[in-house]
């Protein structure tokens, strides 16, 4: 008898399935399906993620491996122009490097930096925001003053993470101030839970929504800032060029009419950040009407 019963999926998989189904039935998913811009943004991001993970399989050449470069193949235009080769879809640069391959490899660096800077900002900002909002008093005043001071610097003067955290600290603090007087937090206090557990298990999950919205958009912002810093020559090391550094390399030869070396990496940054902003704006409008 028991052998005829369909094998139930293991427990973790089942709960995953259930939450996925719950997500599909939610208002967010419903609105997502009806929003052309949200779908477009998601497709762009998905394509980008696939490209970054599949990286080496999408290109014939490893642009960092000098042995694979052929100086005779340098300065080839994109394949649809005269003199272009099918092998190099978007053309080649000064050293015979495939522009498409450089973009694929550079995207990994750019995305990595964008994500790392965002995570760093979230970690610092959310922690300080939670602490400031939950404990209040002098601690709160000090943290918020530092945030004010930080905000009165132009972003170029300070490195990535040190600018990013302020937004989170302010948002999370505001949300924490609101949540900490709710009944469920009171109940947790009465039941004798230590403060750090109340903060992590009860307050944090309830202030997570605005955090996600800002974090989404910020990855795009950080990709742009990283590109700017790389262009100025104060970014990541030259051995592994990010998208910004590719633009810089192409700038040197732009005046000789070799536009593809710099234009395609820039177009690519624009497309990716545009996709992130599309989805970010959708999430902001859906999840956090107050931020509208």
């Amino acid at each position: 008898m028991a052998a005829n019963m369909p094998a139930a999926p293991p427990a973790p998989q089942r709960s995953l399935q259930r939450s996925w189904q719950r997500f599909l039935a939610s208002e967010l998913a419903h609105n997502w399906r009806r929003s052309a811009s949200a779908i477009a943004g998601s497709i762009i991001i998905l394509g980008f993620v696939v490209m970054v993970t599949a990286g080496p399989y999408l290109t014939a050449q490893n642009p960092y491996d000098v042995r694979q470069l052929d100086i005779m193949e340098a300065f080839k235009p994109p394949m649809w122009l005269e003199g272009g080769a099918f092998q190099y879809i978007l053309g080649t640069d000064q050293q015979g490097r495939d522009v498409w391959a450089s973009i694929v490899y550079g995207s990994r660096i750019s995305l990595f930096i964008g994500l790392a800077a965002m995570l760093g900002s979230v970690l610092i900002g959310a922690t300080l925001g939670l602490v400031a909002g939950f404990y209040g008093g002098r601690l709160d005043a000090v943290i918020m003053r530092i945030a004010d001071i930080q905000l009165s610097f132009p972003s170029v003067l300070i490195a990535l993470v040190s600018v990013g955290w302020v937004v989170y600290a302010r948002t999370v603090r505001g949300a924490t101030l609101r949540e900490k007087n709710r009944e469920y937090v009171q109940a947790a206090r009465v039941s004798g839970l230590p403060n750090h557990k109340i903060i992590l298990k009860h307050v944090l999950p309830n202030v997570l929504t605005p955090l996600i919205v800002i974090a989404t958009i910020q990855v795009g912002t950080f990709i742009l800032i990283e590109a700017s810093l790389s262009f100025l020559g104060v970014g990541v090391p030259i051995t592994q060029p990010s998208l910004g550094l590719l633009i810089k390399n192409g700038f040197d030869v732009l005046f000789s009419g070799l536009w593809w070396i710099s234009v395609f990496p820039g177009l690519f940054i624009m497309l990716v950040v545009f996709g992130i902003n599309l989805l970010g704006d959708f999430l902001r409008d859906e999840l956090n009407p107050r931020l509208k």
């Binding site: 905000l151 700017s228 633009i247 820039g266 950040v273 545009f274």
Partner: protein, 321 residues
Amino acid sequence: MFGHLIKRFIQMIFVLWIVSVLVFVMMSFTGDPTFMMVPLDATDEQIEQARRILGLDQSHLVQYWRFLTNLLQGDFGRSFVFRQPALQLIMERLPATLEIVFLAMIMALVVAIPLGVYAGAYPQRAGSRALMAGSLIGISLPGFWLGMVLIFIFAVKLQMFPSSGRGPTEMIWGMRLSFLSWEGFRHLILPAVTLSVGTLAILMSIIRAEMMEVLRQDYIKFARAKGAANRFVLFKHGLKNALIPLITVFGLMLGDLIAFATLTETIFAWPGIGKLLVDSIYRGDRPVIVVYLMFVAFLFVVVNFLVDVAYALIDPRIKVS
């Protein structure tokens, strides 16, 4: 309100002091300027002597004290490269930067206000949606890359505008300005357009959001019920109230513009303070970097202070609290 301003003023001084500490720490731990001063074949003795002259043999605390007192006395050091006071260098280049920053700001406002009002008044129209998509693209693209594309199209291909450098300048009020002659103005256009795009995109979406908020208010309904002309309602009642929050944004935006001007100036070889900073970083010209950072922080803090004052003057609700 007066108390509020005094509090802000003290905070401003405090911020500048923090900046001086940060700049000093940054400079102390990034490289040794001695080797900028001595010849390549200098003996150990000469190097020691140079270190003594620069005061590098003292403790960091003593060095900072000297740094701070010199700053307060208006002595910002001399450029290693140009052999002239670093502050003077910055002041000479400043008009060039202000020129493109202000032109960019004006361009952004002139375009963003009517478009933002339109998009806010008729959010459902296809035109408004297209504008918002355009604004999102404007926010998503790297500004310096846009400058390169503009150079390629308008300078290399069409040869309509010069690709780099500053045109002829004229002395006005002790500043060298270039926008008065046609040739000088032609040099200004591409850098200013490049710089304005990001600001334009952000301004447009802010004005749209503010307009949508304001147009929901009762006094707008009342004005419409009274039979006021549509354009009068939108611009006189709507825009006027939508612009108030923009004042706070202005201070932050000016800082961003000066920061982004660094990139724009690098691309267009525009001889402003941003290009001076980048060149100084490459040359290791420490006094100039220090003065640039201090100066920009000063500018930024002062502008934000003035913005606070203006805001308090315009919005009566702040006076009460």
